[in-house]
Subunit: 111 residues, 2 copies
């Protein structure tokens, strides 16, 4: 298989867990999500991101960042703030955000 | 919508991010995954868990635990260890594990 999970980096680094429930394909969502996926890659200290969604509508996005400052920079981004506001106003029924410092990490790749 | 993401708890607590790529429905996987879902709920300090998978085969599971000791207890569980061994031997092409202490959390629920 060609796809791989984002690798386990050398701690410390940060992970931002964003879990959400939203309506199916609401207006403007896909374009904004795609723009955010591009924009976050410009943030210094951004390490990677991965997302998945259940058929029932629960979405999980994990972002990986070098340090707290890189998360703060992403949080300050005005285009991101506008998207977040629209998310609360229009798209999401509920979400949770967990900002966490990675203390231990490991990975496995089949030979 | 009735489904909700696991709530943002009061920090500190821990999140274990498990991302993996595996073949579609390999033998024995579903039964074991379901058994692990039940078993982890008996671990003192287990707070919750949620999973999603992309059509491409990337799976994300997030576990939430009260403290490092509750994660250690789950790691020591013999049935869990056996399942992990089988995962490496048979099911997974690759995986990453990130064990992280939550420093900040928040949530949103539409009125």
């Amino acid at each position: 298989m060609n796809i791989k999970p984002v690798a386990a980096f050398e701690p410390p680094y940060y992970t931002v867990v964003f879990t959400s429930v939203r309506a199916d394909a609401p207006e403007g969502y896909d374009e904004t999500a795609q723009r955010m996926d591009e924009l976050v890659q410009e943030v210094p200290g951004f390490l990677g991101q991965e997302s998945a969604r259940t058929p029932g509508g629960l979405g999980i996005t994990i972002g990986y960042f070098r340090d707290a400052e890189s998360i703060a920079a992403w949080k300050r981004n005005m285009e991101h703030r506008t998207a977040q506001g629209r998310g609360r106003a229009e798209w999401y029924d509920s979400y949770s955000v967990h900002v966490a410092k990675v203390e231990r990490s490991y990975g496995f790749v089949r030979d």
